[in-house]
């Protein structure tokens, strides 16, 4: 299995542990479209990591099924299955005794790729994660920073060009600045390679930033809501989701849209503070509050004014 | 054959007891002296975090010393007798005790010592109330190694007139195969008991909270990596 992204489908997937009354994951049913990032979010104990690990069978499913590209994961040889899925974990788990290049080359080597092709692929991937190959190829994990290690982890997971990736809180152990940088990196890489990704996180903001779809799980592995970020924020399914999204749900929603997506009002010689067209609505709101103005003049790339946005149009945009 | 050996032990129990006593006295004296020398020195150096090169390499050197050679030299310089053998045994027993004491005290986590200092403890108080209790398991591991080593080497001491159960073991002509095997069994039991004895003492003296972390054999100081 390699190459083009594939759809992942959970069909009433359930995990029960012996001796426990409640299942860890209860009849999870959702479909992740090919090439999309699906974030599994929820409090601890919500079974999000368990659900993810059922995909590559690190945890055995009790009832129900999971399929990749239409093929049930249970029907495949487990080793072949795992070699066809990119797996990234929080502590990375780079092999300390192997160089960066050897780490990245792990799965291709297992698959028996010819040496030349492996070397090329390693360089290509190091390039993709923005670690200059000549510099980093022969380094050992002990010589890397946390952010660099996770980049190598990412490269390693992508090495055999799997159609599907599983990521378990991959940026959780990093400091906020590095985390933010790597989140952007992931979006950029995804833009280039377009894999189907199941991404586990407990951070709703991270999920909103990265996810094309978000699945909110509650305790006992029950799916509370599965939607795009916009629909989730605009129409939460129940109280639990409302609470989970946070009291600043409205602001989160504003952060998803940008000024250049709105219909702007006429300038009419208005004198007001300016805001770039790429500014999010949330930042625009923040600017209005700070400057005391009720309107902003929206300007384009070269500073040319395009129109006016008011507090009312902002509010109307998301309701 | 082992039955005959045990028969010998039973028949000659006075002899066996006498030799066992000699063996114990020799081992005990050597061990006591070695502890008296090496333990304070190691603890003190570890407390000051000085002399790590010395402490670590003494262990290496000590392990490299062939016991037969040391005993032979003791005999050569000090003649036959109890004290020459005892001295040789002391030389062999000092390294594991010294090194383990050093590593144990030196290795108490810096944060803990700093917290103690911050609370206003004097150097001596830190040593006695914080470092020593935490270092106890490893210190005892060293004493335990030295004990087994001394009891074992005291057996060889017989070739230099040291007495003890070794006397029987090296003298097959005099005591016959049964005697030799019997004495061998006795000295093995003696060593195992000594080891268990020190282990028990170690467990008794270790603060309850730390039990379960004690190593049961000499840790190689080079084992710590990274």
């Amino acid at each position: 299995m390699s190459g083009a992204a594939a759809e992942i489908a959970f069909d009433r997937a359930t995990k029960r542990y012996p001796g426990r009354a409640e299942p860890a994951v209860r009849e999870l049913t959702l479909t992740v479209p090919a090439g999309a990032i699906c974030c599994l979010v929820g409090p601890s104990g919500a079974g999000k990591t368990t659900a993810m690990k059922m995909v590559n069978r690190l945890i055995d499913i009790t009832e129900g099924d999971i399929s990749i590209g239409g093929t049930s994961v249970a029907s495949l040889d487990v080793t072949a299955l795992r070699r066809g899925i990119g797996y990234v974990i929080q502590q990375v788990g780079l092999f300390p005794h192997m160089s960066v290049a050897a780490n990245v080359a792990t799965v291709p080597r297992l698959l028996g790729w010819p040496k030349g092709r492996i070397a090329e692929r390693v360089d290509e991937l190091l390039d993709l994660v923005e670690l200059p190959a000549d510099d980093y190829r022969d380094r050992y994990p002990a010589q890397l920073s946390g952010g660099e290690r996770q980049r190598v982890g990412l490269a390693r997971a992508l090495a055999a060009d799997p159609p599907v990736m599983l990521m378990d809180e991959p940026f959780g152990a990093l400091d906020p600045i590095t985390r933010a940088r790597l989140q952007q990196e992931l979006l950029r890489i995804q833009h280039e390679v377009g894999k189907t990704i199941v991404f586990v996180t407990h951070d709703i903001d991270e999920a909103i930033l990265l996810g094309d779809r978000i699945a909110i799980l509650r305790e006992g592995g029950v799916l509370a809501q599965y939607d795009t970020p916009e629909r989730l924020l605009a129409r939460p399914a129940d109280d639990f989701v409302v609470r989970f999204l946070g009291a600043d749900r409205g602001l989160k929603l504003l952060a998803l849209r940008r000024l250049d997506e709105l219909e702007l009002g006429p300038l009419d010689g208005l004198v007001a503070p300016t805001a770039d067209a790429s500014t999010t609505l949330r930042d625009a709101l923040s600017q209005m509050i700070v400057s005391g103005a009720r309107s902003l003049v929206v300007v384009g790339d070269s500073g040319e004014p395009r129109g006016v946005v008011t507090l009312e149009t902002l509010a109307a945009a998301v309701s | 054959m082992f039955a005959d050996a045990l028969q010998f032990v039973v028949d000659e129990r006075r002899l066996i007891l006498e030799k066992t006593w000699e063996h114990l006295v020799l081992s005990g004296a050597a061990l006591a002296i070695a502890v008296a020398i090496a333990l304070p020195l190691g603890v003190w150096l570890g407390h000051l975090h000085r002399g790590s090169f010395l402490a670590v390499n003494v262990a290496n050197l000590g392990r490299a010393l062939p016991s037969l050679a040391v005993i032979a030299l003791g005999f050569v310089f000090l003649g036959v007798g109890f004290w020459s053998v005892a001295l040789a045994l002391v030389i062999l027993a000092v390294p594991p005790i010294l090194t383990n004491a050093y590593v144990a005290v030196d290795g108490v986590e810096a944060e803990i010592v700093e917290a103690a200092r911050g609370m206003g403890m004097t150097g001596r108080q830190i040593l006695t109330r914080v470092e020593l209790p935490l270092a106890l398991p490893l210190i005892f591991a060293g004493i335990r190694t030295a004990t087994v080593f001394v009891v074992a080497t005291a057996t060889i001491a017989a070739v230099a007139g040291g007495g003890g159960l070794g006397d029987i073991i090296v003298n097959q002509a005099g005591y016959g195969l049964d005697g030799v095997v019997g004495a061998a069994i006795c000295v093995s039991l003696l060593a195992l008991l000594a080891d268990a004895g020190v282990g028990l003492l170690q467990r008794r003296l270790t603060p309850p909270a730390l039990r379960g972390t004690a190593p049961s054999f000499e840790l190689d100081v080079h084992h710590r990596h990274g």
Partner: protein, 246 residues
Amino acid sequence: MTDGLVEPLVAQSGPVIPDFGEGSDCVVDNRLFCPDWVRDNWSDVLQPALVEHVQLTIIAVAIGLVLSLAAALLTHRFRLLERPFGTFSAVVYTIPSLALFQLLVPVTGLTVTTVEVALVGYTLLILYRNIVEGLRSVPPEVLEAARGMGLTRRQTLWRIELPLAVPATMAGLRVAVVSTIALATVAALVVPKGLGYPIFLALREAFNTEIIAAGALAVALALVADALLVLAERALTPWSSARRTT
């Protein structure tokens, strides 16, 4: 040495002048150390003993390593074996060498085999414990990543766990080699081989130089072996000396 081990030297009452015929003054007076004796007797006394000593050591450590490795791998797979293996090697380690020789002699005779069995036995404890520790020290996230990536159990063992156990194994090997070299001197009480033999002969005549020469050789051998093993470890584990420079 005929039907038993050694005869004690307690019968010696005072210093005995070694009868070496053309011995130099130094030797005749039995001064502390006579370099000329060493030179004269190197090739027929000391060198052969040294070579035999090296052989004894290498055989013992090699066999000990293989046995300990096998035991450690079995323990790694079947945890329950740890107690029995550990206790067995600890008991063997505790038995005084002379006693162990004597317990073996009725079975294997006054041969090199007896000596090797005992020496192998003494290496087991440290090697077994260290290899087991080494295998255990592999970080759990490394194992999880390996499993998730699709390495089979065997591949994980050979490509990940064993290489990462090398440092601990080498540490144990160093201790085992050095201890075996020291212990092998006692072998002379069973068979006339190794550096213990000249020491032993010299003991009968209280001949200082020979004792010191053979003893010093044993110590030197141990230190050289230790240094070689340190170099070997560095060569085998290029990753352990790598450190962040940024």
